[in-house]
Amino acid sequence: MTQISEQVDCIISGLKEISALSGVRFVREYSSEPVETPVSGFLAAVGIISAERSNEFIGGDATSALKGEMYAAVCEIRLYSPNGGNGSGLSELAGEMLAGLRSADVSGIVSKATVSSIEFDTELNTIFRRISFRLEFCLCEEGAT
């Protein structure tokens, strides 16, 4: 999933440039590192929850010279609120991420984005929201005839 991961990394880098999100740390999902206990600031776990690839002609009727593969994936960011903060600011940051995807998506590949309702993690004793978005992009073969 290297191609998809690279696109997700670009989008996360774009989100990190948004000043309202400067206090959020982004980590890769399911790391081998221990869970931060307690969660000491806004922490966003980034993961790809599904992916698909299909071979198809991109050019269609216009030209058969262009062909490549179509990729689609759903990325999820779990945004955790700091422990003891009563969840203050979580929804605002989730909204900033949702809106910020427009500027972070420099390649124009995000086709849909949603924010979940608030959920509670009993083990970490903190709340979180899921921001998920769908990516769709093509990788064309160079010089295809």
């Binding site: 990394d9 996360i12 880098s13 990190k16 740390r25 982004f26 980590v27 890769r28 999902e29 399911y30 790391s31 081998s32 590192e33 221990p34 869970v35 931060e36 206990t37 307690p38 969660v39 000491s40 600031g41 922490l43 776990a45 980034v46 993961g47 779990r78 955790y80 422990n83 003891g84 083990e123 970490l124 004793n125």
Partner: protein
Amino acid sequence: MSLIGAVSNSIAKFGGDVEVTQGGSTVKTRAIVEPIRYKNKIYIGGEQRSLGTLIRERYLYIGQPDVPLRANASVIESVGGKYIVKRCETYYIQDRPIYVWAIMVPFGARREDDYDAD
């Protein structure tokens, strides 16, 4: 010796040196720290969570009553490891605190941003 003094002396005698950090302050005291043994002693392994590996070990803390603890805030460092308090209570006889009891889990250090290094 009063019961109150006996409990405190027992903790001082049988407990180990610990550092209790909460907020910006650290207090050195003595406390008994021991693993909680689940049924059949099955407490191996952990759980993969989106934020990392969750170690499911639990530890018991019995400490001096003059060092109050706060759940999800107090960090205890002993010779055996570093822990975060998940639940704590102070036991009293009449109105006098006798000892502080807590359930702790292994402390998980603050995560660095994975995308800063990219």
